[in-house]
Symmetry: C2
Subunit: 345 residues, 2 copies
């Protein structure tokens, strides 16, 4: 899968370079049009795609008023629902459920204790009823106590072997092909791409470099407390069962400021949890670009917005329309959703 994505990424990179050479050698506007069609190939022509290309053209045009130096070309991406799917539950929840099952024999008390009982009985309704608090309890109880190195290995093993219930494919197969192209398009134009996700930072870092081309140091996420100590004479970092930082809603601009220290000029999200990140980006003094992915494709992916318990997009949708932010209509704007569709064609 990753190899496939890598070769995709490479192919897109080549086509972009080819496009650039074309644009340089032939300067009439018809050729310019051709070049732009070759960009973002999984995006249908339309307002969303055009708004991205226009923005990138503006900030990279040295002769224009909107030019931005490469070191300030910071682009931030939410992960769940923006770079990969998030239904029927955040994928990290499937990971935590698998951890509960793996650890259950060491914890006989879980049989009678929610939310663990719900997980062990496959009672998704009871699990949902435990709410956000219950899910955080699951994550903390199953992630804490081990060293960061041990946890990393568990994530690596899980991401390689676990399957999504609807597609029966590895979860990383459910990344969005058009967003992979967008990440590459931005990087090809001098942008530094960051993930800014409510998901666990240590749950993402082991695989996002291979899948998205984003290195660990460009990942911002939620995190638990850590403790430095010596085990068997070697220094280790131990995961503690306490939350340190929730990188969601109001936390996203805080996380951006903490980790990046610069205001982004482009922000990509899909839910009200990303609204403050988009507002923070939009309030900058420079040219900026804000985009919401709107989940409108029940057949190929999922359709949900204002009333969804996961990835609710309500206030954000209103604000996007009011401010003229780009709203991607997945059903209309994306030729393919997942990379594996390209193989199946």
């Amino acid at each position: 899968m990753a190899g496939f994505i890598k070769s995709k990424i490479r192919a897109i990179g080549y086509s972009f370079i080819f496009g650039l050479i074309l644009a340089i050698s032939l300067s009439c506007s018809v050729q310019q049009q051709k070049k732009e069609t070759a960009l973002l190939p999984s995006w249908n022509d339309g307002q969303a795609k055009q708004s991205i290309i226009d923005f990138v053209n503006r900030v990279t045009d040295k002769t224009g008023d909107d030019y931005i130096v490469p070191s300030d070309r910071i682009a931030v991406f939410d992960n769940d629902g923006t770079l990969w799917s998030e239904q029927p539950a955040y994928f990290q929840l499937f990971f935590a459920i698998d951890r509960v099952k793996a650890l259950a024999s060491d914890h006989p008390e879980w049989k009678d204790k929610q939310p663990f009982k719900a997980v062990l009985e496959n009672d998704m309704e009871a699990l949902a009823a435990s709410g956000e608090h219950g899910i955080i309890e699951l994550v903390m109880a199953t992630h804490a106590g081990m060293t960061t190195a041990e946890f990393e290995q568990i994530v690596r093993d899980w991401i390689r072997t676990a399957k999504h219930p609807r597609f029966n494919r590895p979860f990383t197969d459910l990344v969005y092909q058009p967003m992979l192209e967008l990440l590459n398009f931005l990087r090809d134009n001098g942008f530094k791409t960051f993930i800014v996700s409510g998901g666990g930072i240590e749950f993402m870092r082991p695989w996002v470099e291979e899948v998205y081309g984003i290195p660990p140091e460009q990942v911002v996420g939620s995190m638990g407390k850590l403790k430095f100590e010596f085990r068997d004479g070697k220094p280790v970092l131990v995961k503690l069962p306490w939350i340190d930082f929730i990188d969601d809603k109001d936390g996203k601009p805080v996380g951006i400021h903490r980790f990046i220290g610069k205001r982004p000029i482009a922000a990509f999200g899909n839910s009200d949890g990303d609204l403050q990140m988009l507002q923070w980006t939009a309030a900058g003094p420079k040219t900026h670009f804000c985009l919401y992915v709107h989940h409108t494709d029940e057949e190929r992916e999922w359709a949900y917005d204002r009333n969804s318990p996961i990835g609710r997009l309500d206030k954000g949708l209103d604000e996007a329309r009011k401010n003229g932010w780009t709203v991607v209509d997945m059903k209309v704007d994306w030729k393919v959703i997942y990379p594996f569709e390209l193989q199946e064609r």
Copy 2:
């Protein structure tokens, strides 16, 4: 100053490229020796300099067992006492003192309250007696309440205008020329350089890119809590008077794991506060390099180690010797300390 450093950095970059071309076109070992002399020109030939060059040669030699891919070439640097001086007090304390004086008219109660009273009466002994707690109180009281953008502007203004009491020069004149060369040498060899400092992250970010060539997103430091809110209809981040994270001692490996998410292969420090960072680096599975700057030059800089209240190097010095880490003897190993000495020659 910054322009001068930049032109220095550029000159060093050019000489390195020239050195490389030389090495490629002439391959006998005498020429190799010449090339290495051209590297790190402010370092005297000796064990410290040679250990750096040997390490870089080993990890960049694709045919050797110690080769490390560029994306794993992470180097972390303490700031105070490692990249710039830290005597007679951490430079951020001078900043906090200036802030107390600037804000005193709005705080009549400070006249009778320590540690503010000590600052207003220039009573450095009483200030020292207030200890670490007193200094943190100063920093929190004078840094909190404003927005991050307002604070950034204050730091920028201060760093441009404030003068060090001994040298009567901007504080950024007191960066170490040999360390600037080292930063560039590592970057020229594919390393990504990070600051990992006990100092305030927001105190460093406004100027370290210009002075050290390290962008804001590669700075890890101590930080206060932040709050996202709207002021006059615009989103802002407000600095709160509570500590969020102290990036010192045990905190340094935690900060590295949080912000970088990868174990460094090279770590540079000068005090016991850096020991855990060096231990964490040394415990990695790959080739690594640990270096302590030992302040031994009373005349050109300062001489202090085991009994110094600031930048104490005691346990770290023992451990460095036990583990064979490189210990720089400033007086012996460095031809010049500060960049301005090059102008004065």
